[in-house]
Amino acid sequence: MTITEKILARASAKTSVSPGDVIFAKVDKVMMHDVSGPGVIKVFSEWEKKGKRLERIWNPDRVWVTEDHFVPAADRVSAENVITLSNFTKKYGITRHFKYGMGQYGICHTLSHEEAMVLPGEVYVGGDSHTNTTGAMGAFAAGLGHTDVAYVLMNGKIWFRVPETMLFRLEGTKPDYVMAKDIILKIIGDIGTDGANYKAMQFTGSVTKSLSMEERLTLTNMTTEAGAKNGIIEPDETTYNYLAERTDAAYTPVMGDQDAAYSEVFTYEINRLEPIVAKPFSPGNIAAARELAGTEIDKAYIGSCTGAKIEDLRQAARFLKGRKVKVRTEVLPAAQSIYMKAMKEGLINIFMEAGAVVGPPTCGACCGAHMGVLAKGEVCISTTNRNFPGRMGHVESQTYLASPIVVAASAVAGKITDPRDAKAN
């Protein structure tokens, strides 16, 4: 069995499972935020209207809640959604609620690793499609909708069809100007935005093993853009060390068997990989950054669960240090703790001296909701993960997706730029 199959077998109390089996898995952790949370709460209230009483939920200690999409509240309705969350967590005794303006808070998929909310071998579900991100910790992590999350809150389990696993071997050594973002964009370009539909995407190989935890999280984050059920990486010393700095909670890692069966195996020689950009309006619509060199942009965005972790900010700073941006540039660290690290390392100074605005952690502009949406006809280069029509603002705006290095180099040039043609510090 693969690691995904073994985790699902363990969670469904079976000795083995095979792709295609439909199982009910016990859930270890569940997350909801200020978009999915109010949706879940609505499901609860409809349920109660039918006369079913809900005095308690399955296990408040295994639930965590964050405020990320609509903070700082852009308007009255957003503000009310956020209050709804507080009422809910108070009522059901959920103590792990990361609140905006009260210490650590940030984007859900960033807190999941920064705060070690999810551990190797666990089954983790969240009311957000990029829940896949956290599979980099060696967990089964998948996104669900409101009804499913509500079901988990009531019953502590949920159904899954056991996915086939596609194995991606990333081999060779990674060039300095290439990031995990380039690797995953290349893969999505190759297999298509439904290339992994209903399947697991597992990463291995010498490059995967050499990547830091945060870079691995970028790989699994965008498995969602290929339609995958989950992205996963077997845990190793990098995972254990990362967790040791953050938690003393016990866990039992799961590894795939030597003779595990994969539905497909892909090998990528990363030595030869160039910086990649996804053009509008699909993450699979890729081109080499150099091919697009000179494309005029109006804005550069460094933010989101994909591209605003501390390493993303460090890499962007290499290209922004001592230079001035030529287009509107926004940097939004993905969590309060990352903002503070960036401040201590002097990165915030670098960004501000370059002319960028540094904002509070939020999903706002990534999902076109608030805090810097695009106007009609505007072109943005962004470290985020989606560029569908209207994703970051007006339906006639355009977004190019790229690594923090490419976005920073482009911000300085005022047009899309291959970092090899720009100067790094």
Binding site: F70, V77, L144, T147, D148, Y151, N155, C367, G390, V395
Partner: protein, 168 residues
């Protein structure tokens, strides 16, 4: 919703692959949780007049990977609230599929590409869930549909996951 009944309705066809959740219900509406209000904005990214065109019981016919993108349950809610009863596609994105079924909102029906090609906007269809067959009343022809997996059929029968009793 029962999995064994016959459904009849008119087709709204958008012959495109990868119709994503940002198109089905754009980001700014995610803070809305009132179902009727959401319906007004269904498919706004593709056809701002969509909601006004649909009558109760109608079908949506689209290409592959329908509903890709975010996990927002707002998407199947908005579509079902306009009156759409079933979506015929060559494939669905996974979260959209399970939201449609588990929430008891609408039926995600997988059909072959040839069926999508044959069916035209405005056609009258009858869907027989017992026999897994779709009849095009306008064109007097029929197409097979992929049967629902066993658990999915049971959840549809129960009217959504919350009503479904899982036997250990």
């Amino acid at each position: 919703m029962k999995s064994k009944e016959k459904l009849k309705g008119r087709v709204h066809k958008y012959d495109r692959d990868n119709i994503d959740t940002d198109v089905i219900i754009p980001g700014p509406y995610l803070k809305i949780h009132d179902h009727a209000e959401l319906a007004k904005h269904a498919m706004e990214g593709l056809d701002p007049k969509f909601a006004q065109k649909v009558s109760k019981g109608d079908f949506l016919v689209v290409g592959s990977n329908f509903g890709c993108g975010s996990s927002r349950e707002h998407a199947p809610i908005a579509l079902s609230q306009t009156g759409i009863r079933a979506i015929l596609a060559t494939s669905f994105a996974r979260i959209f599929y399970r939201n449609a079924v588990d929430g008891g909102y609408l039926l995600p029906i997988e059909v072959e590409k040839s069926a999508v090609t044959r069916i035209s906007d405005g056609d009258e269809l009858e869907i027989d869930l017992e026999r897994n067959e779709i009849t095009n009343l306008t064109k007097s022809e029929s197409y097979p549909m992929k049967p629902f997996p066993e658990l999915v059929a049971k959840i549809i029968e129960a009217g959504g996951l919350l009503n479904y009793k899982h036997e250990e």
